[in-house]
């Protein structure tokens, strides 16, 4: 799996980049934020993305998708990241719908995936619980057996794209946890079902995130996604893929922040000189560039490893997320610093990248978490 773009991939990357630079200037994100838009994204632009086929990329042709892989997904998310586009591509396509794609029954797939692909319905994945940090298996939400079905009770937060979604894929404890990954199941729950409570969560990145309360929500056996009690592995697979998609977005964001900072260094004058001539700043800029390049290699490799189902795919997911987390936060912070006072104002756009950097860092595990996981996967 060479670390190269095919001609088709180059075309996709170019298209995505053009669409985003035209349709998603950072001013759009600002406007949505200032309006306290509860959806937090543009349904029109989402429809357009669907028309462009982006929402179809990671789904099999049997499910109506394009049958492409993570290598293509990260090209789209990189473009999204450059424009800080708030559309829930990762949340809906790579999390909620991906759970169905990888583990759903034929009925679940045929019911939902075509409407995801055409942009008419939204799915989200409700897995994160208060206090669980980055541990997918720390699930206190219970699905108690009740006749042939289940009753769900619990709380989820940071449900990306969850506010306004049509349905949620929810993790819940169905068995005991004698085995580490055991006893967790995923359920597909429409948000209009009785007992589902949705609240908007306002985060520093202003992206759509929901707090979900499950108050005696009934689910039938056909609502289970994948095998009962074996949802943890499916969840892990979904989150690993979403993690790499997020890394693509982070790559776009860090490169955009870096480009803007470089432009500022070439334009700002102090003490009668362009500040980009100051060697200390040059060296720091070069260090930031190095981190962005290393990040790119890691993301490309992780995407290809997942596509090839390579034995070290999980290691590469850790590699990519750890690197992108450190690099994006570093570049975000240094970008603000190098912009000086103006970079601290909300009026300037560079601060939006720092906020997104932190939001991305804290999603799916920070760098320390992934170093720990990498070490464990590597057997030390």
């Amino acid at each position: 799996m060479p670390l190269l773009l095919t001609d088709e991939q180059k075309l996709l990357a170019r298209t995505a980049s053009e669409v985003i630079s035209k349709q998603s200037p950072v001013s759009r994100l600002r406007a949505l934020r200032n309006d306290k838009d509860e959806l937090g994204y543009s349904p029109q632009l989402w429809k357009y993305m669907a028309e462009l086929g982006w929402t179809a990329i990671p789904f099999s042709e049997a499910d109506g998708g394009l049958g492409m892989g993570m290598a293509e997904v990260v090209l789209v998310t990189e473009a999204l990241g450059r424009g800080l586009a708030p559309e829930p591509y990762i949340a809906c396509v790579m999390m909620g719908a991906q759970a169905l794609s990888l583990g759903g029954s034929t009925q679940q797939r045929t019911t939902w995936l075509p409407s995801i692909i055409d942009g008419s319905k939204m799915l989200a994945l409700a897995y994160q619980e208060p206090g669980a940090r980055y541990d997918l298996c720390k699930v206190d939400t219970r699905a108690r057996r009740d006749g042939d079905g289940f009753v769900l009770e619990g709380d989820k937060h940071h449900v990306l794209g969850g506010f306004g979604a049509d349905a949620l894929v929810v993790s819940a404890r169905t068995g005991d946890s004698t085995s580490q990954n055991g006893g967790i199941s995923l359920f597909l729950i429409p948000t209009d079902r009785a007992g589902v409570e949705l609240g908007r969560q306002w985060r520093m990145d202003t992206n759509n995130a929901a707090i979900v309360g499950l108050r005696g929500v009934r689910a039938s056996a056909t609502d289970v996604v994948g095998k009962l009690d074996a949802g943890a592995q499916l969840l892990r697979n979904v989150v690993d893929r979403a993690t790499v998609a997020l890394c693509g977005e982070m790559l776009g964001g860090m490169n955009e922040a870096l480009d803007r900072t470089l432009a500022y260094l070439q334009e700002r004058t102090q003490f009668g000189a362009i500040i980009g001539t100051f060697q200390a700043l040059k060296h720091r800029a070069a260090r930031l560039y190095i981190q962005a390049e290393l990040s790119r290699s890691a993301v490309m490799a992780a995407a290809r490893a997942l596509d090839a189902d390579a034995p070290d795919a999980a290691n590469l997911v850790c590699l990519a997320k750890a690197r992108c987390s450190d690099a994006y936060v570093l570049i975000g912070q240094e970008s603000v610093q190098l912009h000086g006072g103006i970079g601290m104002t909300d009026e300037h756009e560079i601060g939006f990248f720092l906020k997104r950097a932190r939001a991305s860092e804290m999603t799916f595990g920070d760098a320390a978490f992934h170093r720990d996981r990498f070490a464990t996967l590597s057997g030390f």
Partner: protein, 396 residues
Amino acid sequence: MSNIEVFRSEARAWLEQNAPEEIRGKAGDPSWHYSGGRKASFHHPAQERWFAMMRERGWTAPDWPVEYGGGGLGAQEAAALKQELARLKLPPPLEGMGLSMIGPTLLQVGSPEQCREHLPKITSGQIRWCQGYSEPSAGSDLASLQTSARQVEDRFIINGQKIWTSGAHLADWIFMLTRTDSTAPKHLGITFVLLDLDQPGVEVRQIQMISGASPFCETFFRDAVADPANVIGGVNRGWTVAKVLLTHERSGSGPGNRPGTSSISRALAAARDKLGEQDGRVRDPIVRDKLAQLAMDQQCLQLTMQRSVDSRKAGEKPGPETSIFKLCRSEVSQHHDELMMTINGPEALGWEGDGFSEQELTQTRAYLRGRGGTIAAGTSEINLNIIAKRVLGLPD
């Protein structure tokens, strides 16, 4: 008992007898602090009583001359009073840039007339001041400022824009640097002038920061008017005055001097809460190591500051180590806030509303605001330049 001990015990007795119960212990609580000015009001009758009784003794400005409404205390007495206030955790009766910056500057370089005109209005809390130094294109390179002051008959006409005029929306007057000679070398054409903000040619806009609302403003001048009597230090000689004022900002109670070395107690509590503990230890060993590093960084800096204080007390000149304080303080503070982000994890992502505790939201805003610590009041880059040049003697 020495004179100073007599003074101390009298001050202590007076404070214990007179300081309103309601304000005791409120030294750290911003809502009990008072900055005066035309737009100010007291938030509590006790605050007003406290201000009035202190003002009456001249203790809004204890070491200023009595004729300007000060207390006329010597440096040692003033220090003793400060310690006694701290003992009861009493908030200062009055604060602001009048007391900390322009007042001391006028006492040092202003004319007697200028002192008589402005200082009593500061000590009496009538006038609140703000600072007009930075401009959008004059950040670290302050002397490249462009706001112009043209002398027309008996007044100066001011045009231009100032930025980071903290509290301008609450202030009455501004002390500012203006360019009066655009042909002179840049440090030589600057004039330091005082100006009433309450006039048609002045517009103040608050600046929204990445952390949200802020005390910072942009202030625009369109044919604003200043009285030549309010030029300090002479026309085209403002740079000298500016430097005098900056020493007060840096040494004194100016905004550059807030304690940046909060202890690790909050971070430690958060780590125990979010990451758990085992046999009394923070469970996550990586975070524990970082907590120790942070505590050590704080302590090293505090000891270095103490070393400076001790040598000044002993009558020695402050050593070169003072040049590192601002830089280190802002960086240690940033490291603290970064570690808090790591500890809070997903809960660090809150902006407002449900799903986050008040403490989490406050901490996230503090993290964002703290990014400015290495920019405001002398960037770290400028500080490193200064250390390299003045302390280490490296050539330009």
